[in-house]
């Protein structure tokens, strides 16, 4: 995609290349600095997001009837413990083989039958619901494996930017114990990222504030 307009600075990486030593210089590097544009600032989705962002097929990260499909459901709660009914929850995740239906996956895009990997759902009914598959494990860049996880964005009136979290599955005990991101968190905070098994899938509540405030990530 970036190749549609030639960029003299866009030298393709050698996929087989070994780890190279750091230059000692953090940040963007002088080669690209002069071309840097300021990013567009975010703004809240506001209360009328349903006009622009409703998709009839939004909930289906995995198509209906896909073997192994389950529902990930949950609520979004505010600092008073009230259920937020005007939020949108978006999910993005790997397929059960640990691949992504995305050309940006350097291992090549996958096409797992029935799998879009992405879903969006409103909380109008009091909870969001996304139909998906159990994500596979992924390399963590340090020789280890990440535990199965779903990246989540929450948008709502009263949030000027999205908030981002990750859903892990509580019954993936072994994988979770090895996950670098989970391990980097204080033990009492990890639980806020665990979806618990439910009748037709998993449950995951997002606590925007409070004692049980979900761990949110800066991406």
């Amino acid at each position: 995609m970036s190749g549609s307009v030639p960029d003299p600075l866009d030298v393709p990486p050698d996929p087989a290349g070994p780890l190279q030593p750091r230059s000692g210089r953090r940040g963007s590097g002088f080669l690209t600095e002069p071309l840097r544009l300021g990013t567009t600032p975010s703004a809240t989705v506001g209360p009328y997001l349903a006009i622009g962002l409703t998709w009839a097929d939004g909930a289906w990260a995995a198509a209906e009837g896909t073997p192994g499909g389950f529902w990930l459901r949950g609520r979004v709660l505010d600092g008073a413990g009230d259920v937020v009914t005007d939020a949108m929850v978006e999910t993005w995740q790997a397929d059960p083989d640990g691949r992504f239906p995305s050309p940006e996956d350097p291992r090549g895009p996958s096409s797992y039958p029935g799998f879009r990997g992405y879903a969006r759902a409103s909380t109008l009914s009091g909870e969001f619901a996304v139909h998906t598959l159990r994500p596979g494990r992924l390399p963590d860049g340090r020789g280890g494996l990440q535990a199965p996880h779903v990246d989540v964005s929450v948008f709502a009136r009263g949030l000027l930017d999205r908030v981002v979290t990750r859903v892990y599955l509580a019954d993936e005990t072994e994988a979770n114990a090895e996950d670098a991101v989970l391990r980097s968190l204080p033990e009492d905070r990890r639980a806020t990222l665990l979806a618990t098994p439910a009748e037709d899938g998993y449950r995951f509540d997002v606590h925007l504030q409070g004692d049980r405030e979900t761990v949110f990530f800066a991406v």
Binding site: D7, V11, R22, I51
Partner: protein, 248 residues
């Protein structure tokens, strides 16, 4: 069964972390609804791994014929000042983002949204639903035809009015690039009293404001406003590899 991948040595782009002084905070005291919603703890830095540097492919299949013309709905023409909104979607390296889905929604010319929650006494327009969708072309360009949205009151504070704006939702190539924002119009006298506009750090506010475009304004037809959207770019220097997450 849980699959695994064990490939080593893959080089991933590292998306640039934005300068906090240039980006909109999640919460802002003047915007009351943020008080119970914006998280209070400092977010944890998430390394950019495969999940973060990939993203869904959403293109022409999400767009129906007519989605780029908001002025013609239900068999008639919307009332209001007809405007062409156009621009490019770029990343912060200046590279166009082709094939990017852009979803927009807005109030009608009277400042009313077609939504059950919006019931202030301004008229609905039977020929305006306020929804548009376009996909950027090979040069990252987009355009859609609409009517200029009106300002509208909201109950944030006494006599609070939102400056005219169009809501934008964009996907780039990666989860890190996801952006939902609002486009404003130049020199709006309502800017000064609007906490949503003013929550943007002063240095970055101008990036949320479109430019009147006489070049694209069409005689006897429509005014034009130009607005480029810049998504986060990634580190592309081939010699700098990050042991914190560039390699997966």
């Amino acid at each position: 069964m849980t699959g695994t991948t064990s490939e080593r040595g893959l080089r991933l782009p590292r998306y640039l972390r934005e300068d906090a002084a240039q980006r909109t905070p999640v919460g802002f005291p003047g915007y009351r609804s943020t008080a119970l919603r914006a998280p209070l703890r400092t977010p944890v830095d998430l390394p950019h791994r495969l999940t973060e540097v990939t993203g869904p492919v959403l293109g022409e299949d999400r767009v129906r014929p007519g989605d780029a013309d908001l002025t013609l709905r239900n068999g008639g023409e919307a009332i209001g000042q007809r405007i062409l909104v156009h621009g490019r979607v770029l990343d912060s390296d200046g590279r166009p983002v082709p094939g990017a889905l852009v979803e927009v929604w807005q109030a009608n010319a009277a400042g009313r949204y077609r939504h059950v929650v919006d019931n202030w006494p301004a008229p609905l327009d039977p020929h305006f639903d306020g929804l548009g969708r376009v996909v950027t072309d090979s040069l990252g360009r987009y355009e859609f035809l609409t009517v200029k949205p009106g300002a509208y009151p909201w109950s944030n504070h006494h006599n609070a009015w939102r400056p005219a704006h169009i809501h934008f939702s964009l996907f780039g190539r990666a989860f890190t690039q996801r952006l939902v924002t609002q486009m404003y119009f130049p020199d709006d006298p309502l800017f000064g009293q609007d906490p949503i506009y003013n929550s943007i750090p002063a240095a970055a506010r101008h990036r949320a404001v479109s430019r009147f475009s006489l070049e694209r304004t069409q005689d006897d037809w429509a005014l034009a406003f130009e607005w480029d959207v810049v998504l986060r770019g990634s580190e592309q220097t081939p010699f700098e590899t990050d042991d914190d997450g560039d390699v997966a």
